[in-house]
Symmetry: C2
Amino acid sequence: MDKIIVQKYGGSSVSSTEKIKLIANKLIQRKKTSPKIVVVVSAMGDTTDDFISMAKDITKSPDKRELDVLMSTGEMISASLLAISLKSLGCESISYNAYQLNIQTSGIHGKSLIDDIDVSKINESLDDGEIVIVTGFQGLNDEGDITTLGRGGSDTSAVALAVKLKGSCEIYTDVDGIYFTDPRKYGEAKKLKEIEYEEMLELASLGAQVMHSRSIELAQKYDVELYVGLSCSDIQGTYIKGSKDMKLEDKVITGLATCDDDAAITIVDIETKSVSPLFENIAVDGVSVDMISQTAPFNNKVNVSFTIPKEDLQQCRGIVKNYVREENIVVDEEITKFSLVGLGMKNTSGVASKVFKIFSENNINIKLITTSEIRITCAINSSCKEVAIKAIAKEFNV
Amino acid sequence: MDKIIVQKYGGSSVSSTEKIKLIANKLIQRKKTSPKIVVVVSAMGDTTDDFISMAKDITKSPDKRELDVLMSTGEMISASLLAISLKSLGCESISYNAYQLNIQTSGIHGKSLIDDIDVSKINESLDDGEIVIVTGFQGLNDEGDITTLGRGGSDTSAVALAVKLKGSCEIYTDVDGIYFTDPRKYGEAKKLKEIEYEEMLELASLGAQVMHSRSIELAQKYDVELYVGLSCSDIQGTYIKGSKDMKLEDKVITGLATCDDDAAITIVDIETKSVSPLFENIAVDGVSVDMISQTAPFNNKVNVSFTIPKEDLQQCRGIVKNYVREENIVVDEEITKFSLVGLGMKNTSGVASKVFKIFSENNINIKLITTSEIRITCAINSSCKEVAIKAIAKEFNV
């Protein structure tokens, strides 16, 4: 039996009728080798933003149930136009919406989670030789009200359909795949042929915006092979899959992410007993602390360093002042969080020491370090960022 | 129990978020005296036309099922925005679409007929004190596909809801009511306070475009009182209702319609036996013949006059030439069809002779006459149109 392919096209891929016609032509070519295709579409270009600004014209806080009704029309528009385009080219096609597929969701409006999808109509249509178009980003709650899935919702719709249809999932977007690191920051960054779910999740949490974490988690849970690539192009993209489906030997480092949005605060000689209440107070104020390191106590006093978003610096400094004198607070706004991700770290000892050695040889001071099983993050001076990327890429041959 | 009011707002009434806010404010005022309000909305302004041109960008003849999906989103957009606006002003409100109300339709895509509506959700919401917004113009067929109702569809949705909810129906549009005759053609035309269904249907068939015949027929069938008026205005509009609900004495003439789109053809000395095949051939060619008159036979020959749309004149002349010589065909392109409509004609004898007398006194020649039970139509010379309207309005005091 032919494997079902679920393709998803993002808003920029369907932003005009011209682009929709291009996709229709690509689909017709693809159908020759993959006869069973389901296509999930996002709203055209800026449609969703336009709807939000219309609603905001009326009120600052539009009712969430009705906002979901409004937003959901965007995908119905692009779905019908793609079906019209396919049929005009002689290719049988049909569009389905959340009602027709009973896409059940739970949770709140604007951030709903998919519980189930009835794919019987899709299977019938596929058996009839039709390319099936499904409106992404939306579902129904128990009351039969339209809900939307929030950021990255159409990706999640596509993966959920692939789960239910036991198919694979191809995400077409405006980037041509996943890179070792952001090519805008490091021009020589290589594109990855494949990446493991966990690695992709780590990179997503570090700011790689190609796909939303939710859809990757769902794909991982049900072992759906994902592909991310450029729409309407023959350039090879990146596969996201489970480690058992990858080459036997993992690369030690798969991805590198940097972030310049944080500042480091170091507090000198704070009372040991004040450390816990200090972080509690910072948390109460909604400031998210990321990296933390603390020295060993001496005379019941310690030094503590941590990073916070730069935008929260003033607020956080105010809280710290309640615990130590001004001159004991050192703020460093010139830091870059430098993260290396790789499933191979699990099985390869000495990755951290190798990284430290590379940094040392290049005169890069490490200010803070945190690690997870498959990630090392160092805070370094921002001016050293480029040198660090090049040195790491060279030494790990990535 | 409070009578349910079904209001319908056309596309020009909801063409911007500003106008939607105005309607929301009007509704909140109205709710104080009429606590149970259901609102049917059309798509905003030119949305439907925009959708059609997007589809036509892709193909000359877009698939009808998918075109209905596309078109139906227009009403979902305006419905959600109106509900958002009402809720932002503190008025409980909820929008429902064709799926949520199971608006069952039959017939073909783009021209479907409403079979039934499940109003249980509407009644629950009304009991909860909510203003209910319903997407007009759309329904579902047996397959659960979205259908649209064609021209005047939202009017029909509103009347159908009024039928099911045993309410009355108010159609808000960009004209302030029904006039004795088109005010653009006769500046002194008076607005009617009320008009009977049959009269309105006759006027609609004669070109009065305020409401589509379908919705009037439906209102007549189930005796739903209709009101037509300007949206967001206190100007009194026109009631359309059954004769038993009107004043005891009908006015003899309620409305006057003129049409300059037809030409008259007169055929002199055509063989009696040729008359029937002539009209058959004209019908086969798709030309719609309106008024016909024939003289008594003399030597097995008669004179026949009839009117046809001017645009079909060349085609029709070609057919006539097969039956008589060119010099026996007289074409008159300078005619106006002049129609008087009034339920009172049924019970008032001599209306026709009074009309003829008025025309005669004003030197207006009548070229052709047809009548129905409540209508008299005369073809007169176009140059006499204004004189005729004034004379009739004066003599019948309308």
